[in-house]
Each structure stands twice: as C-alpha cells, then as structure tokens.
C-alpha cells in the first residue's frame, strides 16, 4: 500500500488530496481533454478506462454465458448452472411481480442490466491501488477502474432506459395518448401549461434519479475505500505511522463486506426501477 502511495505521490506531487484526486481522475483521451487537469473540456473527450472496463466486463459476461449455454444440461445441473438459474429465476420473479405480460425483450434486458451493473460495481472491491499501479508500469498515469463511478456510464444507461420509456409510451398509448398525458396529467384541463412543464419535469426526473443514484452510491463507496487506504498509506511518511495498519485492515474488511451489499442493492434497484418505469409506460391511462 505504501509503495502504491509513493507511486501516486511521485506522479502527482504528494499529499492526501492529490492522492484522492489522482484516483478520481479518468484516463482521458481526445482533443478536448485538458492537458493539465485531465478533465474533459468539451465533447471530443473519451474516458478510455471507463469504455475499456465496461466493454471488457460486458464481453466477459457474454463469453461466460455463451460457454454456459454450450454445457447446459437437463439432468442434474452443476454448481455454476445452478447459480445462474437462481439469478434468472430471481429476475423473472421480479418481472412477474412488477410487470405482468411484459414484452419478450424486457426479461433479457433486465437480466443484462442487473448482471452488467453488478459486474461494473464489483470493480470497486478490487484494491484501489492495484490496477492503477499495474497501469502505471505501462505508462498510464490516470486510471479509474470502476465504470459506474463515471457519470457518463450511469447516464448512458439511464438515457437508454429513458428512450425505451418514450418508445413504449408512444407505442402503447399512441402519439395522441402520450400528448394527452402531457396536457392533462397532474392538474386537469384548466392548467394545461403547468401540466406540460410538470409532466416534462416528472419524465426527465426518472432517468436523472436512476443515473444519479447509481453514480452517487458508487462514487461515495470508492471515496471511502480511498480514505481507508490512506490510513496505511500514511506509513510512506514515516514507519511509526504503521501503527494504523491493523485499523486499516479491519476497516477495509468491514467496508468491503458491507459494500458487497451496496453494489448488489444498487444493481437490483437500477433493474427494478427500469422494470417499473417501463411497466408504467405500458399502463394505458392514469
């Protein structure tokens, strides 16, 4: 840990604030990246680490499930098949309760959201200095390993959900029905301008709350991991500060165990609210 802190300090000037800021900076590539702060300054800035890790985990998910499909058996299932079947049944149960008579695409989408978000959240449980340290050996100085601590990821997903909500609203209610919802929804026909604004705000709030909730929880969790890592990292300043090391181990283990619950809960909430929002889009009238 202390070695990793030294690496971080040598590349960013030292100090706890720099250590945290260094860890919360994305690997930004593109003409609109600020060369000093490494923050995106415009549209053409790519957070390569976010893209890489989210794609990698998505491909991993596809690869593992493709392998599993080949080995599927009707007889006594193995341990892993049992495990995946229990996840499937769990998601199916959620859809049965929240969205009866759902279109065929909803179940695979909900499962993908649940597993993918969980995997991306899981990156939070890998020691905070490990992957940035390895990346440092290859000349990559900034690396943020948890894709869901990047607002771009969470908003990309919630924006997709938003588009699906609009699509199903238009499909089920028809353009006129959807317009009627905007015109007459909270306050009846005498306050049409207020109704339009209110409904627009309400619809916009759905993806916003989805994206911000996931981002906020994971960002805060990552920050707590960084603060705990700083306890042992203080030993870089003097060996006497190693006295904090047992405390770091205890705190880290505690937060790690608790965080397993948090990441699962956040993935679950994202999935369930997507299902509920889409089922609300399918309800014909209010």
């Amino acid at each position: 840990m202390s070695q990793a802190t030294e690496t971080a300090q040598s590349s960013s000037g030292g100090g706890t604030v720099e250590y945290i800021q260094h860890h919360l900076t994305n690997w930004c590539v593109g003409p609109d990246c600020d060369p000093v702060t490494h923050q995106a300054n415009g549209f053409w800035a790519f957070h390569v680490d976010t893209i890489f890790f989210s794609l990698f985990l998505g491909i991993l998910m596809l690869f593992v499930s493709a392998r599993l499909v080949k080995r599927l058996t009707d007889g006594v299932p193995g341990g892993f098949q049992n495990f995946v079947e229990s996840i499937l049944e769990f998601v199916q149960g959620q859809i049965r309760d929240g969205f009866p008579h759902a279109p065929a695409i909803i179940a695979p989408m909900a499962l993908t959201i649940f597993v993918w978000v969980w995997l991306m959240n899981f990156m939070d449980l890998i020691p905070v200095d490990l992957l940035p340290l390895i990346a440092g050996w290859f000349g990559i100085h900034y690396l943020k390993v948890v894709p869901t601590t990047d607002l771009n990821t969470t908003f990309a997903m919630s924006f997709t959900v938003f588009l699906m909500i609009i699509f199903y609203n238009l499909k089920v209610k028809g353009p006129v029905g959807y317009l009627k919802m905007f015109l007459f929804h909270p306050f009846g026909k005498f306050l049409v301008p207020v109704n339009i604004i209110m409904t627009a705000i309400e619809e916009l709030a759905k993806p916003l709350s989805l994206g911000l909730r996931l981002f906020g929880n994971l960002f805060a969790g990552e920050l707590v991991f960084l603060l705990i890592a700083l306890l042992g990292g203080a030993a870089a300043l003097g060996v006497g500060l190693l006295i904090w090391f047992p405390l770091q181990v205890v705190l880290d283990l505690g937060w790690l165990l608790f965080h397993i619950l948090v990441i699962t809960l956040q993935a679950f909430i994202f999935m369930v609210l997507t299902i509920v929002y889409l089922s609300m889009a399918h309800t014909a009238d209010h």
Binding site: F99, I201, A205, L208, R213
Partner: protein, 68 residues
C-alpha cells in the same frame, strides 16, 4: 402483498425522486432560459414547479403505492 410489490418498489426511489425532480426542473428551466435569453425567470419558476411536483409525487407514492 404480492399484488402491490411492483409499484411498491417505487418506494425505494422516493428520496432521490424528490431531489431529481427539483434538479430536472432547474435543468429544464435553464434550457428554456438559454433558448429565450430570459435568465433567470424560467430557471427559478421551473425549479419551484419541480419542487412542488416532487413533493406532490412523493406524497402520492407514499400514501398509495398502487396509484403511482
């Protein structure tokens, strides 16, 4: 119990729904302001509407989850 489970799960999101409705109101108002060059009239009024709408919505969900 089983019947109310789907909409009932909306209760998880009440807290963030309230805040994000305020944020959505401000965002929408800001967008309109930029379009019409009328800062900060719509920003404030839409923000207020978002706040009122958020409280109404939260109240509605909390008092009867079936209604949403």
């Amino acid at each position: 119990m089983k019947k109310a489970k789907g909409p009932g799960l909306l209760l998880i999101g009440v807290g963030s729904l309230l805040t994000s409705m305020v944020v959505a109101g401000f965002l929408l108002g800001y967008g309109v302001d930029v379009l019409l060059d009328t800062q900060p009239i719509f920003l404030l009024s839409f923000g207020l509407l978002g706040f009122i709408g958020g409280i109404l919505k939260a109240y509605k969900i909390l008092s009867d989850p079936e209604l949403h």
